[in-house]
Structures are given as structure tokens and as C-alpha cells.
């Protein structure tokens, strides 16, 4: 089986990239497709996860969904690929369905596991905002699979990879990028394995130091609830929940968040949830693995020092 894995690579192989390659490798022989300015050594590193052939389109620099889709379709046809694997991030969400529509191929949006062992190709996805799981079957010979970040564990599978220049005439981008307002250098929320989040219980933006301290001790990414983003205490990209970012980290620590159903919809894929709240009736405790009934202003610094002690004893 020939598999095309499409990824975006900047300055390192992110976990999302490793996951996509690992997924592709489970389906067959992996050809990797990427674009832009990527160093040769970084490209070759993908061989560690089982990539055999690396296609790089250096002529394409800007992110245009339309051109990226054309590029992917060209590679699928040139290399007779049966599977196309992408990460379900902002780019994947825009490009995956486009590629599928072009090829009239069935698309799995947000796969959370490897294919089921059934006759027809079937994969699990999250539906109803994480409140249920659907088993989606693809009926077409070509299959496009977009995988949710943090759904599979990257596995090393060392292969000697070769690089092929894959410059294509894709026509003009009909979208002009005028400006990019970049976020910080931290791990993007959807890819983070550890997340520390806080809500209105923190009483004001000036109190976020204790949240950031805990996050930096853990090596976690910070997040927040909707009201906190809406009143401007924290930037919007930190907002997790139904209308914000949906995440599925290994550990989600929530302080001063009551756990409204809309918030849960964005975090219920987390493996372990720790809830810190003064109100023992807070609905979030029902979704938690560990609960601490207490004041975030006392508990967070105490947890930070406990983490620091633990780390120094390792």
C-alpha cells in the first residue's frame, strides 16, 4: 500500500508530524510531502519514523489551501497513493476535505485511533463534541485520513529516507497573506501533552503568575475558560471549550473553572483531569479524575513546589 503523509515542517519535527508519519507507516510504505524552507537534515530526520521517500516543494512558500490541495493531489497521482494522512490542525482542516473532494475520496475527519480490524476500512472519530465516538467507514479506493493531535503514540521505525525535489507549477495563490500575528514559541495548545488552565476563580489577570509558575514547572501550556478570554484577561487563543480550542492532553489541570458543559466539550478528551475549586458542588468534579476542594491561591503554589521537589528528586 502506498501512503502519502502531508505535513508542515518549520524548525523541528513536532509531535503532530511524528504522529502523522507513525499513522501512515501503520498503513503502508510512506512518502512524505512537505513544502517551503526546510533544512535537509530536518527532512532526513523523518526517516527515524519510517519515511522512505521525502517530496519537498520548495517553490511553494505561502500557505494557500488551494495550492496545497493541488500539490497533494499531484503527488497522490504521481505516486499512486491509496492513503493520504494529514494532521487535523488548522491547515489539515482546510486542506484535507478539499483533497478528498477533488479525488472523490472518502475523508475521515479527526481520526482518534488506528483503523479497526474490519473488512471495510473503518476508523473511530469524536462526535457530539467528544460526548460520543462514531465508527466511520470509507467506501472509496482512495482514503483521506485527518488525525486529531495526541491520538496516537509516535513510534520510531528507522528507515533510510531519500529526498526528491517536487517543485510544481501550481498557478497563482488567489489568497494574499497581508500579515501574520504570531503566537509565542510555546507548544501550541492542541499538541500540548500537559495543560494548566484557569478561570474566573483567579479573580483578575494580575493573578496569573501562579498559573504560569505551575505550567513552567511542569513544562505545560497555559489555557483558560471562555469568560476569562471574553473579558480580556487572557488572549483568545488560550480559550479551550466548545467555541474555542478543543484539546486532548494527557493531563489537564483546571483551577477556578466550574466546568460548564461548553467547557467540558473542549477538554473531555483529556486522559486525566485535575480540578481545583472552592465549591464542592462545581459540576467539573463529575468529569474529574482527581479533585481538590480548595482555594487556587493556596493550592497552585503548593502544587508547584510539590512538582519542583518531585522533579529535583528524579
Amino acid at each position: 500500500m502506498s501512503v502519502l503523509v502531508f505535513v508542515e515542517i518549520k524548525d523541528k519535527l513536532t509531535k503532530a508530524v511524528q504522529e502523522a508519519i507513525t499513522y501512515g507507516k501503520s498503513l503502508g510504505k510512506v512518502t512524505l510531502l512537505t513544502y517551503g524552507e526546510v533544512s535537509e537534515s530536518l527532512l532526513l530526520e523523518t526517516g527515524l519514523f519510517g519515511v522512505e521517500n521525502i517530496l519537498i516543494c520548495r517553490s511553494l512558500k505561502e500557505r494557500s489551501e488551494q495550492l496545497l490541495s493541488k500539490l497533494i493531489v499531484k503527488a497522490v497521482k504521481d505516486y499512486n497513493c491509496e492513503y493520504i494522512v494529514l494532521s487535523q490542525d488548522q491547515t489539515g482542516k482546510a486542506v484535507g476535505p478539499r483533497v478528498a473532494a477533488n479525488l472523490e475520496a472518502g475523508h475521515i475527519s479527526g481520526a482518534i485511533s488506528f483503523p479497526e480490524k474490519t473488512d471495510e476500512f473503518t476508523v473511530k472519530t469524536n462526535v457530539f463534541s467528544g460526548k460520543a465516538i462514531a465508527f466511520v467507514t470509507v467506501h472509496t479506493p482512495i482514503k483521506v485520513i485527518s488525525i486529531l493531535p495526541n491520538s496516537v503514540t509516535p513510534m520510531e521505525n528507522k528507515t533510510a529516507a531519500t529526498i526528491t525535489e517536487f517543485n510544481q507549477d501550481l498557478g497563482d495563490a488567489r489568497i494574499k497573506v497581508k500579515e501574520i500575528k504570531a503566537l509565542g514559541d510555546g507548544i501550541p495548545l492542541p499538541e500540548a501533552e500537559l495543560v494548566v488552565s484557569a478561570g474566573r476563580g483567579l479573580k483578575g489577570p494580575e493573578n496569573w503568575g501562579i498559573v504560569e509558575d505551575l505550567a513552567s514547572s511542569l513544562g505545560a501550556t497555559t489555557a483558560c475558560s471562555r469568560p476569562v478570554a471574553d473579558i480580556g484577561w487572557r488572549p483568545h487563543h488560550e480559550h479551550v471549550g466548545q467555541t474555542g480550542v478543543a484539546i486532548r492532553p494527557n493531563l489537564y489541570i483546571a483551577a477556578g473553572i466550574s466546568g460548564a458543559i461548553q467547557h467540558l466539550a473542549g477538554v473531555n478528551g483529556s486522559k486525566v483531569i485535575v480540578v481545583i475549586n472552592t465549591d464542592p458542588e462545581a459540576p467539573f468534579f463529575k468529569a474529574a479524575d482527581y479533585g481538590i476542594i480548595g482555594d487556587a491561591f493556596d493550592v497552585l503554589p503548593r502544587l508547584t513546589s510539590a512538582i519542583n521537589n518531585f522533579k529535583s528528586s528524579q
Partner: protein
């Protein structure tokens, strides 16, 4: 400006999610349907604001049965000029995209809008597929939209942060939080919606490329283990040895 907004009905956010027929079908018993929030609050309302300030019309399109009509009337009550319903069962995303793009191609819309996803299937696929079928640019996860003549300036969420992009008509966008504020229909809107045109058209033939064969509910949490707020060493111990996440 001629805008087409794709509208879908979804179970209310607080609905209990259950399945029937051997876990193959969503249990609609007692479920209240609403207009998908991303379609309504962000896409439809922004479309109406633009047309109110610059002139034009807003049409909604839905692929569904007559059970979708109450939510379509809600969209008309909020202010859409007219509505189209493709009379079909919206099970496969490509099938749905094909129906909408087929209608849109004949009507020459300047902008086709969808919500960033529906809150039931969370697929985030229709907008992207429509753009491919119409061969026009797609601006995904847009949080802001302004129009000057036949050129639109948008902000959209990207991996690295936020991108400001410029695109000429026609194009497709998916709307995310920030595009507009929710609008509550007033009595006059609700009355007017009753007589606004709702055209029902037949589906065009298209095989489903995918199907959902069954559903499953996630394993329920086994219950919350409470830890003494004075004893955070215990929590660290549990996170390390019991759940092995640190």
C-alpha cells in the same frame, strides 16, 4: 453582494446523547434542535451585517428533510431574505457539499459561508469541499470579515497564530468565534419569517463516500478521587505512579 449561508440543525448543546437501533442511530427522543451555533452566530449574523451596510441579499441553504424547516425559519427570523432546502438525508459530507455547490454554481454567489464545524459531527469538512467543487479560494476558521467593493479582508486562525488575508470574490469561508455577536430574533422578524420564501429542491444523484456504521459512548469516568488541598505531594505521587502522566 450576494451571500449564501449554509445552515444545519443540531441537537441543543445540553442534549443527552444516546443511540438506538443497536447503536447505529442517534436517539432523537426528547432532543431539542437548534441552528448550529457557528452557522448562526458567526456566519449568518456577519452576512446580515454586511448586507445591511452595503446592500445585497442573504440566502440560506440546508440539506435536510422537512424536520429542518423550524430551524430554517429561525434563520429567516434572524434576517435572511430567503431559504433553500435540498430535500435529502445529509449523511455523507461529500454528498452534502455536492448538493450545495451544485446549487451555488448556478446562482453565482459572491461569498459562501459555513460555520467552522457543526456541534454534532464536528467534521469541519463542508466549506473546504464546496470550495474545491466550485474551484474558488477557501478561508478557513475566519474570525473577522470586512468587504470593500469585491475584495474581502479576513482574519483567520492558523497554526502559528493569526493571519490577515485578502481575497477577491467569489470565495468560501468557514466562520469561527469572533465574526459577530449572537442576534435574538424579534417579534417582527418571527412574523416576517413565516411568509419568506423557502424553496425546496430535489437532490442531485451522488453516492455516499463514507458512512457511520455505529456509535459508542466513551467510558464513563470512574469517579473523582479527592486529594487533601494541604497535601499536594500526594497528588504528584498519584499523577506519577497511578495515572502515569508526569
Amino acid at each position: 453582494m450576494k451571500i449564501l449561508v449554509c445552515i444545519s440543525k443540531v441537537p441543543d448543546t445540553t442534549s443527552k446523547i444516546n443511540f438506538v437501533d443497536n447503536n447505529s442511530k442517534f436517539d432523537e427522543n426528547g432532543v431539542q434542535y437548534i441552528v448550529n451555533p457557528y452557522d448562526e452566530w458567526y456566519a449568518l449574523v456577519r452576512a446580515l451585517e454586511l448586507v445591511e451596510s452595503q446592500g445585497g441579499s442573504v440566502t440560506t441553504i440546508t440539506v435536510g428533510s422537512s424536520s429542518d424547516d423550524p430551524t430554517i425559519r429561525k434563520a429567516l427570523a434572524i434576517g435572511a431574505n430567503d431559504a433553500v432546502r435540498v430535500n435529502a438525508d445529509p449523511t455523507d459530507p461529500f454528498f452534502v457539499a455536492k448538493q450545495i455547490s451544485n446549487y451555488a454554481a448556478n446562482e453565482k454567489y459572491d461569498v459562501v459561508m459555513t460555520g467552522k464545524e457543526t456541534i454534532d459531527y464536528n467534521g469541519s469538512q463542508i466549506g473546504s469541499m464546496i470550495s474545491e467543487l466550485l474551484d474558488v479560494p477557501f478561508v478557513s476558521l475566519a474570525t473577522k470579515l470586512d468587504v470593500d467593493g469585491t475584495t474581502a479582508t479576513l482574519e483567520r486562525d492558523v497554526q502559528a497564530g493569526l493571519e490577515v488575508v485578502e481575497v477577491d470574490f467569489p470565495f468560501v469561508l468557514s466562520a469561527s468565534k469572533g465574526m459577530a455577536e449572537q442576534r435574538i430574533p424579534n417579534m417582527r422578524g418571527i412574523m416576517a419569517a413565516r411568509t419568506k420564501p423557502l424553496k425546496v429542491i430535489d437532490e442531485i444523484e451522488q453516492k455516499a463516500l463514507t458512512s457511520v456504521i455505529k456509535f459508542e459512548l466513551p467510558n464513563p469516568k470512574t469517579g473523582c478521587k479527592y486529594v487533601d488541598p494541604e497535601n499536594m505531594d500526594e497528588l504528584v505521587e498519584l499523577l506519577h505512579n497511578e495515572s502515569k502522566v508526569i
